[in-house]
Amino acid sequence: MWGIFLESVVIFKNYMGFHENGYLAGIYLFVLLYLWLTEKDKRRRAIFVYAPTLLLLMFFCPLFRKIFVRLLEDSETYYRLLWLLQMSIVSAYGMMKLCGRHRRIGLAVVCVAIAACGNYVYDSEHITRAENVYHLPQEAIDIVDLIEPEEGRITALVPADLIYYIRQYSTNIELPYGREMLIARWDYHHAMYEAMEKADVIETETFAELARQYPCAYVILKEDRKTDKPLTECGYTLYDQVGDYLIYKDMETDDAI
């Protein structure tokens, strides 16, 4: 039980971003304490003070966590219980109450405190300027436009960095493996993925043999991907190039399924 409790503490710390000096939770806990001491309206006390406190206690309760995880068969989403605290609503309400009549100076102080304790969401490395209305990399779209059949579907083998995007643009392109291979903790094994991504140098003969099992009408490789002999010697032709990606067409495989 103590171990489960400690796990919950770690989840709480990770959620609140303590390891990255995010102290927004500090504001929330301070406001919660302040509301404990000052909130007179009994209904608001129930909604903004008692319920969040009870939820926090439940979050750290090992028995509750055991039941939650057993019911959902998923321990990775336990942190979502903290969404029920609605930190922003409770904190904003408490801060407004704390500022009282000093509204404007209070607003300035609160905004500075939030900016100082929080983390600017648009600084995230995952947010980049959109290249098109799909919000997908333009290279993925250009590649699909080149290989997509007019009718039916084809299978294509693409490098890991395109896997997320290809089927977001067109579901007429099928893949031998998908995103599941890229999540290490899911621990999947796939021979084609091993041959495509894990080998330092692609063994072209085996690789081509595997790719034809699906059958992959196109193979897309990064320009700098090393192969022990060119794909063109194994029945492929260089169909086109998009940015850093070389598109090979398998001349032994029919186009659409």
């Binding site: 959620y15 219980l81 609503i89 407004m96 969401v121 947010i127 300027r129 579901t171 007429n172 392109i173």
Partner: protein, 364 residues
């Protein structure tokens, strides 16, 4: 033009029409455009859930086409009924023009509202001009696209395109199918609807919930009013969303980086909406009989949790139980627990389907 009409119809007109039904059962002083729109969206998603889940489970081929046709008919009927109800009791409506509201404000309040709208506009601009990468899109967005392009729900593995069995963790949360429905009706690619259109709808909708919460906290008629605090509350809420990215797990991070995913909607729209209703029902002005519409709305919000994510159903049940328990103690009215339990019945049914589907292999 057709695309714009499709969006206008399914993202504005139909939700407003549907919202007029629960609002009809709410006392006249609570009937406001904001409540209508929110009730409309939650009502629409509840109807969508009712139609789509049976189609997912029982229809194998073209299940999206079946579900979307049934939903279209039902939604139009509901919207028409709502409009008819609103027309019938049109004399009870007391709408105040926004111009009058602005005129009554002090200059300071106007500037504060402008500041809030600047922050909201900034978030919308970022949502439109910047792409946010999330690996889960390879599942959810592709599910929407498969439904749009192949008329199939949850029978094709989004990652590869191969046929698959129903995956209980995802099939009951039909939010991607609603995105697909909007995409089909507006004839816009589902990925564009997800990444571009949905943030333009869901971000303002979430702020509408925060606005309604703020109004109950600062503009109540039963105590000394502090309506001048409302714009400041909204600014603080917007600041929290923009700077709430203390980790990848917070609902604020989900709100602005994965807006179009059901779980983000659950965290930033559904759960705050429950707070709104807790306050609305227990703000001391609720007229027991006249406010049946609020309980209908409670049911719709609970059902929307199921549309968004299976886990959200468990979460809202926990929130409802804990808050009902606390309210029952402070109010010394234990009927609240029964009422809150009653509005959770759809969630219980949802969980039963989840468990039956999840453990059906044991029966074979």
């Amino acid at each position: 033009m057709v695309q714009l009409f499709g969006l206008l119809l399914w993202l504005v007109i139909i939700p407003i029409g549907i919202g007029l039904i629960p609002v009809h059962f709410v006392s006249a002083d609570k009937r406001k455009p904001g409540i209508v729109l929110l009730a409309g969206y939650f009502g629409m998603w509840a109807v969508f859930e009712l139609v789509t889940i049976p189609a997912v489970i029982f229809v194998k081929y073209d299940n999206f086409k079946v579900a979307s046709n049934c939903f279209m008919v039902l939604a139009i009927l509901c919207a028409a009924a709502g409009i008819w109800l609103a027309y019938r009791d049109r004399k009870e409506w007391k709408l105040i023009s926004p111009v009058v509201c602005v005129r009554e404000m002090s200059w300071a309040e106007r500037i504060e509202w402008l500041l809030f709208f600047a922050l909201l506009g900034f978030q919308l601009y970022k949502a439109a001009a910047y792409a946010s990468f999330d690996g889960d899109d390879a599942y959810y967005v592709v599910e929407s696209l498969i439904a749009q392009q192949a008329d199939v729900m949850y029978r094709i593995l989004p990652y590869t395109g191969r046929p698959t069995d129903l995956d209980v963790r995802h099939v009951l949360a039909v939010f991607p199918m609603w995105v697909a429905y909007v995409a089909v009706k507006s004839d816009i690619h589902a990925t564009i609807v997800s990444h571009l259109i949905m943030p333009m709808v869901l971000i303002p909708l979430s702020y509408l919930v925060y606005y309604e919460v703020g109004k109950l906290l600062f503009c109540r008629s039963t105590e000394k009013n502090h309506p001048e605090n409302l714009p400041i509350f909204m600014i603080v809420m917007a600041m929290f969303q923009i700077f709430g990215n203390v980790s990848i797990y917070t609902n604020e991070t989900f709100f602005l980086t994965r807006t179009w995913q059901g779980k983000a909607v659950a965290g930033s729209l559904v759960i705050p909406a429950l707070f709104w209703l807790f306050l609305l029902i227990h703000d001391g002005t609720a007229k027991k009989r006249a406010d049946m519409g609020l309980w209908i709305l409670f049911v719709c919000i609970n059902m929307t949790a199921g549309v968004c994510s299976s886990i959200a159903v468990f979460l809202v049940c926990i929130l409802m139980a804990v808050t009902a328990f606390c309210l029952a103690i402070v109010e010394r009215d234990y009927k609240i627990i029964l009422k809150m339990a009653a509005v959770c019945i759809p969630n219980v049914l949802y969980m039963m389907i989840y468990v039956i589907m999840g453990y059906s292999y044991l029966l074979k």
